[in-house]
Subunit: 256 residues, 2 copies
């Protein structure tokens, strides 16, 4: 038995999310497990660090699996990149210790959310890569409001009704809202996330950014733990799982 | 009669280039002319500044057309964005003088070519947005070599065999090769371009960037006016028509 860790990039547009579903439904886990099965000749279960939703992208998803026979990492990488669609790419393969678990060992996850605001025409080139908000947004208001989320809180106000997580308390250690060229980038890092949490935070910040709610609303909504108080869930295609860190790995800020 | 200028962005991936072809072949000119015909109720011919090839993108293509009856620019913009696929977006519509011609009045055209080099895995998210060169490229060598192209020259060495242009002499006023994050960006501006000219220049620079040809080769290839001396034609999907300028408009450098 040999355990391997995969570092993955994917375009979420053509996938019904990460998690394997019934036959005929294309998911990221599904296509990778099929590739691994063809490579190793036995069934393989792939565990991902984050179960991204339909349309959500990843530039640094991490997953692990067990194989009955060890193979060189580069052989797995090359074979898997041939055996899977071009919309998913294996960036790295590493042999890991049997104690490593992509989901339970993870200590930090970081997401990026990209917004194009204040441009009336839909972006043609980035149409499934960014969320298009036709009206301008005040980045400074959004940035101020977002700071209320830093630290350890019960994030139930930003949780999907069908979220299965047992623990709504998470520790948010990074929260930045920045103008980057023509886009607004929200970068958020925590030890874990609830379902739709980033998209519900962005929906709430967008109402603050267009002046419908005051900057102080963010802290009140968080404290209420009431999903009905928060803003709408924004579309998935602006969201990217950027990185996942494990004990011993250090968080790098900046370009990230 | 009223003449209008359109500013256009499009994702070249799903189009067989700019130029209208026979029925059933999807082109940028074709879908826009169909939309304009539905809007105005008569046949419309749209003239583009640059006839981009299959797979080539645009962030600043310019085109003009004549309508029998004048309409407000914003009405045309909104209607056309509804009547055309989401892979093409009208960014601006302006009423122009009858002397304006998108192709013949243009005095400057600028293209961007994006390369991801030195990364073995294919990019999943940008797979039809950048050219993937698995081996590293020396940006400094490419930048030095590229300078030989600045000025007025006969660019026949970089011209497709089937190019129909009568004039192979062009004046290149901008030529930059820069590392931008994980990508190499080549930005080139001239009064006009021959068919495949940018892609043949990039193919030649890539051989210099990986050390197969010396930096001095560029000037010799240009002087030879012999297509067989230059490098291969690289794929279209890294190429973007960035902007087109007309008399009275000033070229802005920097971010472009």
């Amino acid at each position: 038995m040999a355990r391997y860790r995969l570092l993955l990039e994917y375009d979420g547009t053509g996938f019904r999310g990460w998690q394997r579903q019934r036959a005929g439904i294309v998911t990221v886990q599904g296509v990778l497990e099929e590739g691994l099965q063809r490579l190793f000749g036995h069934e393989v279960t792939l565990i991902g660090a984050g179960r991204t939703d339909t349309g959500v992208h990843a530039r640094g998803q991490v997953a692990h699996f067990d194989a009955q026979k060890a193979r060189e990492g580069w052989v797995i990488l090359r074979a898997l990149n041939v055996l899977t669609p071009e919309t998913v790419t294996v960036l790295a393969v590493d042999a890991v210790d049997a104690a490593f678990h992509a989901r339970f060992s993870a200590v930090y996850r970081e997401y990026l959310f990209r917004i194009v605001a204040g441009r009336s025409a839909m972006p043609a080139l980035d149409r499934r890569r960014v969320w298009h908000h036709p009206r301008p947004l005040r980045v400074d208001w959004m940035e101020s409001a977002a700071q209320a989320l830093l630290g350890t809180h019960d994030f139930s106000a930003f949780r999907a009704s069908f979220c299965q997580s047992k623990e709504p308390v998470k520790t948010m250690s990074r929260m930045e809202v920045r103008q980057v060229g023509e886009e607004i980038h929200l970068r958020v890092g925590a030890n874990g996330f609830l379902q739709h949490m980033v998209r519900n935070i962005v929906g709430t910040l967008s109402l603050i950014g267009r002046g419908e709610w005051p900057v102080e609303a963010m802290g009140e909504i968080l404290a209420s733990r009431d999903r009905r108080r928060a803003g709408p869930t924004v579309p998935p295609w602006g969201l990217y799982l950027e990185k996942v860190l494990y004990p011993g790995q250090v968080q790098q800020n900046g370009q990230g």
